[in-house]
Amino acid sequence: MRPELLRERLGPLLGPRLLAVEPFDGTAGRVRFAREGALDLFRAVRDDLGYRHLAMVGAVDWVDHREVFYVAWSDQERDYVFLSTDLPANDAHVESATPVWPAANWHEREAFEMVDVRFDHHPDLRHLLTPEEYAFHPLLRSFKLHEPEELEVKTRNV
């Protein structure tokens, strides 16, 4: 599916919440959207365009803002689509994709602990790879390597 076709199909559904559709090699296109349209876009991409298989969710820290991206695969198109949204760094939250793609669960937990993005209405937003008490977000640019941090880890009572 070409970027123009993506814009044609998604434009009427999202209106101004669809910011741009750019070509991106290796995928059908890079869809940039405003976070208010997150769930509508996910549903449209999954049900109308047929991208039923969520491959990954990740986040990039651009210091002044944070970018959350989603990659989904369609068996009919045999192609990926790349969705991305920009969030302000001091208020980084976006609607969780778990109601549309259950696969987003762990990816969002990882983005939450690593890049400090909150996913609203996520069923289980706990840390995944770091301990629950870990107060740092390692994949933020402000987190420098080679500076040891004090950390007290408690074991969980079972």
């Binding site: 491959a55 068996d75 696969a103 762990w106 990816h107 995944l128 390597l145 079972v158």
Partner: protein, 378 residues
Amino acid sequence: MWINMGPQHPMTHGLWNLRVRIEGEIIEEVDPEMGYLHRGIEKISEDRHYNEVITLMDRTCYVAGMSWEHLYIIAAEQALHLEPPERAQFIRTLADELQRIASHLMWYAAFVQDLGLMTPFLYGMRDRDLILDLFQSFTGARMTYEYNRAGGVRNDLPNGFTDRARKVMDWLDARFVEYDQLCLDSDIFHRRCDGLGVLSARDCIDWGVTGPMLRSAGIKRDLRKDRPYAAYDRVEFDVAVADGADVTARYLVRMEEMRQAVRIVRQTLDWLDKHPGPVLAERLPRWLGAPYAPVGREGYLLKRNYPTGRGFSSVEEPHGEAQAYVVNTGGEHPYRVKFRSPVFVNIAAAQKYLPGYRVADIPPIMGSVDVCVGEVDR
């Protein structure tokens, strides 16, 4: 009652903790705890030269290092606007398939040991060593190869490699028959595997499950066919599919994949025999970091025009579909590297395919997932 299976447990194959809530013998709920092997590979990559990240890729999944190198290097080449020569593409295809056989043999050995079958374990490890010998002859290492480079591969195959590889492939073809005899003809195998860990095709897609687990549910999907990379569009092979979506079906898919991998290896060897040529693109910038030797000081002193770009790649790794996303904002280091591990997703779906079975069924079911914790935690 909650019980912890892990972090030290014979079932886990790596360091992770499967917390299960049981009612009598029946599993009610599962909560995998990951992160014991988290090394921050995505963070460390931000301080490394593009070629130096390859070292980390070998450690991401220590039984499928070559596939992960390949995954990263496709995304990095796209972000850096580099094109590898044709011969390098075929060598990568060959190395990927050898890695697939080695990884599946490792899985076979570990999986049957979970079932209590000791003999196949020894056979699997023995034959995997033959593949590692091949790797050693052209990369110099048995597990951590550091063989791919942005713009190609490090060195060409040594003299006589193709003949040696063909002999190993002939040997393996005969062994696959023995493996099946040892397992499929065994009553114990069927009693412990048939009808366990069923994950339907619909659940597979909803939960993002890929690889042999998806194909065992009857969905014919393989990135090597659907979205060919390297030289996969120029070799012939069939996608291994099975019905049943249970542990036995996953066994059948992986066994068939090994046979198909042997087929692909033979075709790439024939091509490589006939088409000598360069294996690394010419005029690579020094700041990529060590095509042959560490970067000298002059690499930092000259002003240069760095390219910018984003790279996205997706390969069919032995465990499933892996993705990489590389952001290059201009400079000697990647700005951000993100990896998607297939096992990460396949374990996340455990809450769909474990509940309802018995505690004693956990080792065969989790064994059939082919867990490699290195790539889950990264």
